[in-house]
Every structure is written in structure tokens, then in C-alpha cells.
Assembly symmetry: C2
Homo-oligomer: 192 residues x 2
């Protein structure tokens, strides 16, 4: 999505530790109109796969998942990273390793909200090593539902999580794929 690549170049910043900071429009301040355009693009890419449910993970996936859900006319479920007081039902659980924090965390979703008839489109803001997406796919599998694919805003191609999932046969679409970036702020996008 050309407009996203341009916005990353214009507003993004490369920080030490392979962090691409896009806080000004994607995951702290949210450019709501632009995120809705991204949701429209995700809907266009996955309309033919007939998803019945968007599945994301808190926190920064929620806005783009909402935009995709509105454009596809389907609900969304966001998985939670910790069991909170108002999750009282039976839960699906999985463990995700965070390279950023060097720890494992538990991800949960209520069993009520994903079932074997669902065709699930996973949506998230970033795709790096793919561990969060793998955790969400594990929950979809536990539910006996079908993963129709994954859509992410920005993929860090050089961390290979997206390509590993594609090699396993998943349809993974990222609106921008960063194949390289450096501390001087040079960013190379993959041609799509």
C-alpha cells in the first residue's frame, strides 16, 4: 500500500534494537481516517476468503482490526495477554515468546467467541518474528476453526516471521514490508 510506505518514510523513525517507531499514526496516536483506509485495503485483499471473524491481540492491533472488521462487516475478538477479572468463562490459552522482553507470556481468549464454524482472519499492526501470529493461529486451531489468513500493517521482512508462515501455506498479506532499515533512517520496502 503505497500511501502507507510514504507515511512510514515521512513519519516513522528507526530506533536502536530494530524498532520502527510509527507512534504518530499507528500505535499511540492513531490517524483514524488513514487506519480506516488500511482496513478497506485488508477487506479488499481477504473479501474472497469469506472471513466470519477478525482475531487480533491487545493492544495496538485493536484499531486496525476494528477498521478491517467494519469494512468486512464482521465482528472481531481481541486476545488478552493476561487473565483479567472480567474473563470468567472457559478460556483458550497459548504461550507466546517475546523477543523484545525476553520472556514468555500467556495469551487467552474466551471459548464462547470462536467456534468450529468460524473462518478467522488474523489482523495485527506489526509482524516481525511471527510468534504472536503463531499464538493466535494456535488458538484458532484449538477452536477447530479455519485460519483464512493474516493481515498486518507493517511486516519486518528481515525478521522472517511472515515468510515462515507463507512457507507453511498461510496467506499472509502485509500492507508494507520493510526488507531493510538502518539507524540513519534508510528504509527499503519489498516490491509487492
Amino acid at each position: 500500500m503505497k500511501a502507507l510506505e510514504e507515511k512510514i518514510v515521512k513519519e516513522g523513525a528507526v530506533l536502536p534494537g530494530n524498532i520502527l517507531k510509527v507512534n504518530s499514526f499507528l500505535n499511540h496516536r492513531i490517524d483514524a481516517a488513514f487506519i480506516m483506509e488500511m482496513g478497506e485495503e485488508i477487506a479488499r485483499l481477504f473479501y474472497e476468503d469469506k472471513p466470519t471473524l477478525i482475531f487480533t491481540i491487545e493492544t495496538s492491533g485493536i484499531a486496525i482490526a476494528m477498521a478491517a472488521a467494519v469494512n468486512l462487516g464482521i465482528p472481531l475478538v481481541f486476545a488478552k495477554k493476561h487473565k483479567s477479572g472480567n474473563l470468567s468463562g472457559d478460556l483458550y490459552k497459548t504461550t507466546v515468546h517475546s523477543f523484545t522482553h525476553g520472556t514468555d507470556y500467556t495469551v487467552v481468549a474466551e471459548k464462547n467467541f470462536i467456534n468450529e464454524n468460524d473462518r478467522v482472519l488474523i489482523v495485527d499492526d506489526f509482524l516481525a518474528n511471527g510468534k504472536a501470529l503463531e499464538g493466535l493461529i494456535d488458538i484458532v486451531n484449538q477452536a477447530g476453526a479455519v485460519t483464512v489468513g493474516a493481515a498486518t500493517a507493517i511486516e519486518k521482512g528481515f525478521q522472517h516471521g511472515g515468510d515462515a508462515l507463507r512457507e507453511k501455506g498461510y496467506k499472509v498479506c502485509s500492507l508494507a514490508i520493510v526488507d531493510s532499515m538502518d539507524d540513519s533512517g534508510n528504509i527499503t520496502f519489498r516490491q509487492q
Copy 2:
């Protein structure tokens, strides 16, 4: 908002500890089309106040804040409960007391994204004792911006946070106000 009251009665559950569980459409599974209608109603209520920015707090406020932002044609910022690796700028900070968890937590937002020209509409999913809203108002004050009001989906009227803010002169609009609820699931809404 009559449709919201009906949805709370139909899909909500009252759990011990004054928890009103609306996980099926508001804060775990999200009924995207319905949340957009709620955003439209918030836009109608606050259009005349000319907000320039929606301000919410992670996690479960993000979807309804997004819906309000889209309908008002303005961006949103969500405050974060913990300093994360990709918040690197100067931060506004405030402390919020959580009655649910019996602890204080720090809420932060980057200084870049709220400034003295902003007219800020605070949006959240729940309003109970009002401590989270007070924290967000504190950040708006630190920025020298104006709080034009607060919009929440569901207010627990019997916890008095909303009325305390109204007595201080804030415009606080909740789409449904629960004045009483009991463990048998009886819910009384305030006439608005």
C-alpha cells in the same frame, strides 16, 4: 442510547464484585458495526463542542474511541498503562488508582501528540469511580489543552464517578447509565 440498553440486558451478565460483563460486544468480542453506531452517537453528542482529538486509555477503550474518531473525522491518542519500549519521547505521566486491583498504576502519553491548541474529547468503555477519566483529564491539563468533555459507553451510576465530574462542570455523556444492578441480573437504567 436505547439499543445499547437493550444489548446490555440481552447479552450482559452481572458478576460478583459489581462487574458488568459485556464481553460479547464491547471489550473482548467487539461487535464492530454496533460500536460504529455508538461512535456515531458520541459524534452527535459532541459535534458542537468542536473536538480536535479523542483521548482514551488502553485497552478496551480503543475500539469505541476509534469509532468516535472516525465519525468526528479526528485522530485519537490512547494513553498507555506502562512505559513500553517504543515510547521514547518526552512523556506526560499521571497516577491512577485502580479499585479493582487495589493498586496505583502510571499512565503515560507522548508530549508530541497533545498540545495547547487541542480540544480533547475523552472516550472510554466504562465509567465507574472516574479515576481513569481524572487521570486523562490531568494529562490534558498538563498539555495546556482543553477537555471538552467525556463520552463513555456504560456508566455505573451507583459508583458516582460520572456525577462527581459533572458537579465539577465537565460535560459527561454516557450512552447507558446503570443506576443499579444485582446478582440476579436485574439492571435499572437512568432515564436520560
